[in-house]
């Protein structure tokens, strides 16, 4: 594997360009192994590649991490719109099941005859909503989009060490998205198995139901390809953080957002490496006649299935070994982004930079030990349920520390209110609300009642869905000037915030009450006697979801309008930030820092230091001030 050899010599005192050339040379050698031609411009520039001149190399097949970051952002935006649209269709159906949605038959004539959704089509849309949101929005936007753009800049690197892998990472993800969307257009539509794709429903083929044949094959192929993209991306993120830091940038001088991406990339490298083989085995069950996930003697339509010898629980173990770290892959970059935005807007560092980093790392480590809490009633040995319950309860401690550090740092700060800081504070509120419901779900005895109910749906939508989205919004409003050179409209941003904040609570808080009343999830209609009285609540949620969804159009308008017509950023550092992205030009030049590479003299967040010339000291500032917060 390229770059796997020890690079201890490359401490933060070695000029990074020399190292990049070395890494790049190794990368090129590997390319020879694969029979790909060598880069023609490998030694021409310090960064390993010169600024591209053709449109295709500049905007399409770009190896510049900033362009790749924007591409990821655009992909996530498209995916989010698709995912939100699907949620509208589902919510309308749940509130008013017989309502004809004009034009729905155009999407699928068999799935929506007369524009009214069939039960199976509801499940198919639900599967696509979950899959698209979790993989193509929550994983790509906070991690791959912002991380690609800002991690190299915040570490003081000219690019990632493997720019071609980076380009490949995006385009592979793009192909994965295309394959996923293509499932809408195969004969019986996408899979109806839910984003978790539990076996054996997912592995027995078309006899299982509409979409369980080619729909699942497309699903597993798409996710398998997606994993490759994430593995390549994680590899780049890890090496960038460990090996590409500029002079003076020790690990503890990295901004908290960079730490978020680094910790996430370590999780990504191990979690997606488990999901990919699981997807391959699932595809083999479909196409090669294997039985990894199908046991002996299953009967469908009075016919015994030909499979034998597989294990149902094997899929669940493989899936959740990925699936639980995935939750933190979605939220930890958001924590980093939000902390970074809050610090800048509070004009003070967090109470402890280290404690925040250690707590995030603890979340990452624990995330592998808790995955069984998804399987308390799965038929797994009940003793293992207790074994998985304990670390799940322990994970409360680092989460609480993180929240208390945020709250404690807010105390006595000089808080600036703008769209970015509002979404960050909204993130904190959502993370608390989604977190406390974890107290219940961590306990197997309560999971007996709450498993597979709307309580779970409310929990994960708040803590990883809405919170992560708020992290994306905070990052967008905060970094937009650096990414595009223009400012977003603050009035529209604040309107977008307050509508989203109230709307999200109106949608997801009632989910908890429904769950306590025993409302089962993944039902396309509520025909059970005890569920019928709950239908008015579903109608309320549907209305709230439509209104909140429309509020997101304000954001999309603001984003697109500001991109082309917004006022130019007044200077390179509109928020008076301290980290490296604010000391370079806007937008940053091709090699991020122009002619001279930055040298770092300070901790990332030197705000409101007594005796300093301004209320902030940039990391590159040579100003010598005694700061009590400065790490020794």
């Amino acid at each position: 594997m390229p770059g796997s050899s020890s690079r201890r010599h490359c401490s933060n005192h070695v000029a990074p360009d020399a190292f990049v050339r070395g890494a790049f040379a190794r990368f090129v050698q590997t390319k020879h192994l694969f029979g790909v031609s060598a880069m023609h411009d490998m030694s021409a520039h310090a960064v390993g590649h010169g600024a591209p001149t053709s449109f295709i190399r500049k905007h399409v097949f770009s190896i510049d991490h900033k362009v790749i970051g924007k591409q990821y952002y655009a992909l996530a935006l498209v995916a989010a719109v698709v995912g939100m649209f699907l949620s509208w269709l589902m919510r309308i159906h749940l509130g008013w099941g017989s309502f004809a949605i004009p034009g729905l038959h155009l999407l699928s004539s068999s799935g929506a005859p007369g524009d009214v959704m069939t039960p199976e089509y509801y499940l198919q849309l639900m599967t696509m909503h979950g899959t698209i949101m979790v993989f193509f929005v929550l994983t790509t936007a906070p991690f791959a989009a912002f991380g690609n753009f800002f991690l190299p800049i915040q570490t003081g690197a000219e690019d990632m060490p493997f720019p071609h892998f980076n380009m490949m990472s995006f385009w592979v993800t793009f192909v994965a998205f295309m394959v996923m969307v293509a499932a809408f257009f195969v004969p019986d539509g996408p899979s109806l198995g839910g984003w978790t794709q539990y076996a054996p429903l997912s592995a027995i083929g078309a006899v299982g139901g509409p979409g369980q044949g080619w729909g699942v094959v497309f699903w597993a192929t798409s996710i398998g390809i997606f994993c490759i993209g994430q593995l390549l991306g994680s590899l780049n993120f890890i090496t960038t953080t460990l090996d590409m830091r500029c002079k003076g940038m020790s690990l503890m001088r990295l901004p908290i957002s960079a730490w978020g991406w680094f910790i996430t990339s370590v999780m990504g490298l191990t979690a997606f490496a488990v999901l990919m083989p699981a997807c391959i085995l699932l595809i083999l069950d479909h196409l090669a006649g294997t039985s990894f996930f199908v046991p002996t003697g299953l009967v469908i339509g009075d016919h015994v299935l030909p499979h034998s010898g597989g294990s149902t629980l094997l899929w669940q173990h493989l899936f959740w070994f990925f699936g639980h770290p995935e939750v933190y892959i979605a939220i930890v970059p958001g924590m980093g982004i939000v902390s970074h935005v809050l610090i800048t807007n509070m004009r003070r560092p967090m109470l402890s930079h280290r404690v925040l980093i250690y707590s995030m790392a603890a979340l990452a480590v624990l995330s592998y030990m808790v995955y069984g809490h998804h399987m308390f009633v799965s038929g797994m040995n009940p003793v293992s349920s207790l074994a998985f319950s304990f670390p799940t309860l322990v994970i409360t401690i680092p989460s609480t520390i993180i929240v208390l550090i945020w709250l404690g740092s807010l105390y006595g700060s000089k808080l600036r209110i703008n769209s970015a800081s509002l979404f960050s504070l909204g993130f904190v509120s959502m993370f608390i609300s989604g977190g406390v419901s974890g107290f219940f779900l961590a306990q197997p005895s309560l999971d007996i009642m709450l498993h597979a109910t709307y309580f779970v749906v409310g929990h994960f939508h708040l803590v990883m869905g809405v919170a992560a989205m708020f992290g994306i919004f905070a990052g967008t409003y905060f970094w937009f000037p650096k990414m595009t050179g223009r400012m977003m409209n603050e009035t529209l941003g604040k309107a977008h915030f307050i509508l989203s904040f109230i709307g999200a609570y109106c949608i997801f808080m009632p989910f908890h009450y429904l769950g306590i009343a025993g409302n089962v999830r993944r039902y396309q209609a509520f025909t059970d006697d005890y569920l019928i009285p709950l239908v008015p609540v579903h109608k309320f949620i549907t209305v709230a979801a439509l209104v909140t969804g429309f509020a997101q159009l304000i954001f999309i308008y603001n984003l697109i309008y500001s991109r082309f017509k917004g006022p130019h950023a007044p200077n390179d550092n509109p928020w008076q930030g301290t980290s490296l992205e604010w000391s370079t030009a806007t937008p940053p030049p091709h090699n991020n820092f122009g002619a001279t590479m930055p040298v770092v003299y300070h901790d990332p967040y030197q705000y409101s230091v007594e005796g300093a010339a301004a209320d902030y000291i940039m990391q590159t500032s040579t100003e010598k001030v005694h700061s009590p917060d400065e790490e020794k």
Binding site: L410, P444, S445, L446, I448, G518, D528
Partner: protein, 267 residues
């Protein structure tokens, strides 16, 4: 904007707590022997989660209100006790409380899963298939005949794949579409899936357990109130998932005995 936001946070926190405090959404009534352990555990957890939720949201709102409009001369203040105080609070208050809660909660879990069924428990076999539940009673001999997957036939109403001509044990087995059980008597439910994953969920009974294809699992419980309750499927099993249900009939011992006799005559 900051003050509006702070007010909104407080209003949302209160509005979220009202339905819980006012018991607007109580859990379904409890008709099981072990259920009160779960309900007490739920109430304790709700108390702790509720306090954490309200305290942190209101603190967040107050800090936003208080610190968002600093006067020009204001200096940054540090939270009393600093980061270490908060870390200790997280470990000592939240950590210990949540862990203790979880520890005591194992009692409810153990009552369902760690105690073997009583020797005189009524044994019933449940089979889940797309999209119906069927139940089998062993009859006077007290044993179930084996399931032959190749004999399963919806058309002949042979849902369990019983081979009554060859299997002696199957001859007196009773197959029904509803689960009738005697009140105040332990029931041992043997769970078998015909095709894909399903689940057995009766909210009133405080029981939820997945059917695992290829793996026979079991669960046992005692119902304490006579009545008719819904059994619903909670594991996504295909297009009819939402409609997959059966009824649990809790009967007096006499009614149950009469019902079994009547069902045996229908076989």
């Amino acid at each position: 904007m900051a003050k509006l936001f702070a007010v909104v946070i407080v209003l949302i926190a209160i509005a979220s707590a009202v339905p819980i405090v006012m018991h607007m959404w109580p859990m379904p009534q409890d008709i099981s022997v072990h259920g009160h352990l779960i309900d007490e555990q739920f109430a304790d957890t709700m108390l702790e989660a509720g306090i954490s939720f309200l305290a942190s949201q209101i603190l967040l709102a107050y800090f936003i209100w208080r610190f968002s409009s600093p006067a020009p001369g204001d200096k940054i203040k540090s939270f009393p006790g600093g980061a270490m105080g908060l870390v200790l609070a997280a470990f000592l208050l939240v950590g210990t409380e949540v862990l203790a809660l979880g520890f005591f909660g194992t009692k409810a879990w153990a009552s369902v899963y760690f105690t073997p069924p009583a020797a005189d428990a009524v044994t019933v076999q449940a089979q889940a298939g797309q999209f119906a539940f069927y139940f089998r009673y062993p009859g006077p001999d007290g044993t179930f005949g084996p399931i032959h997957p190749d004999q399963v036939s919806e058309a002949n109403a042979n849902f369990f794949g019983i081979d009554a001509t060859h299997d002696q044990d199957s001859k007196d087995d009773i197959v029904t579409a509803e689960l009738a059980i005697p009140v105040n008597k332990e029931v041992h439910l043997l769970m078998h899936s015909k095709d894909v994953g399903h689940s057995f969920y009766v909210p009133e009974l405080r029981v939820q357990q997945d059917f695992v294809p290829g793996l026979d699992v079991s669960v046992h419980f005692t119902a304490t109130k006579i009545g008719r309750y819904e059994i619903v499927c909670t594991q996504l099993c295909g297009l009819g998932h939402y409609n997959m249900k059966a009824y649990l009939e809790v009967k007096s011992q006499e009614d149950y005995d009469a019902w079994i006799k009547q069902q045996a005559a229908l076989q």
